[in-house]
């Protein structure tokens, strides 16, 4: 049986608007950010493909294949537009 972990997810820009929330706590069996994004995409219909995003774990850029730990905070970073 796959272990379920408590995670916090932060949403920004168009992902925040589609989800209607800036952050949420969630139980997930996703092992990596890639799995988690697929799960969220499936549930909320995010149209941005993973290839267009970057991911951060605990406020630092991370890799899509990194392992998720209980109580991690995960943020998906849409294409940026500062400056």
């Amino acid at each position: 049986m796959t272990e379920s972990r408590p995670l916090t997810i932060k949403y920004f820009a168009q992902l925040r608007e589609v989800r209607g929330l800036s952050s949420e706590d969630r139980q997930s069996t996703a092992a990596t950010p890639a799995d988690l994004y697929a799960e969220l995409q499936n549930q909320y219909g995010f149209s941005l493909p993973q290839e267009r995003l970057r991911v951060a774990i605990n406020d630092r850029f991370a890799e899509w294949s990194d392992g998720l730990q209980a109580h991690d905070t995960v943020a998906f970073i849409p294409p940026v537009g500062g400056g």
């Binding site: 932060k10 920004f12 820009a13 168009q14 925040r16 290839e51 267009r52 995003l53 970057r54 951060a56 406020d59 630092r60 850029f61 943020a75 970073i77 849409p78 294409p79 940026v80 537009g81 500062g82 400056g83």
Partner: protein, 148 residues
């Protein structure tokens, strides 16, 4: 090195003293302004949203890189968040150096990197009532490769 996100009007004279150094022969600054049109559309206002913790960390990395690559004395950067009107200052960068060439180079490096790497998003509001999150399509790939 100094980086700040602010939801208040950026006043460059407040930040300029951070660059003063008796060994500096001059300073270069860049101001990014909100302009009234983009890709043929008339822009009436815009909104910047940031991921503050990650933006602060990534900005410090960019400024450290500028500091390591160019012989400069000091560098500072401020970026706005929230709603901005046409003509307002969106970003300010200042660099002081012994000689001007490295100050110009470090300033350009910083704005170029900041645009592709800082987790800040821009939503433009248009005269026709539409709004849109604006980015450059190649930024994500460029950002991923430049921060490795």
């Amino acid at each position: 090195m100094f980086f700040e996100l602010t939801d208040a009007t950026i006043e460059p004279q407040r930040y300029r003293p951070k660059l003063t150094d008796s060994g500096a022969g001059g300073y270069v600054s860049f101001e990014g302004w909100v302009r009234d049109r983009n890709e043929g559309q008339i822009v009436t206002a815009l909104e910047y949203e940031a991921y503050p913790e990650l933006a602060q960390h990534e900005a410090q990395r960019i400024l450290s890189e500028a500091y390591a690559q160019f012989p400069i004395r000091a560098i500072a950067c401020v970026h706005r968040t929230g709603y901005l009107q046409i003509g307002e200052l969106a970003v300010w960068i200042g660099v002081s150096a012994t000689h001007r060439q490295s100050a110009f180079q470090a300033c350009e490096y910083t704005i170029d990197q900041l645009k592709v790497r800082l987790p800040i998003w821009k939503k433009e509001y248009y005269q026709n009532g539409h709004s849109h999150w604006v980015h450059c399509s190649h930024c994500a790939a460029k950002a991923a490769s430049s921060s490795q």
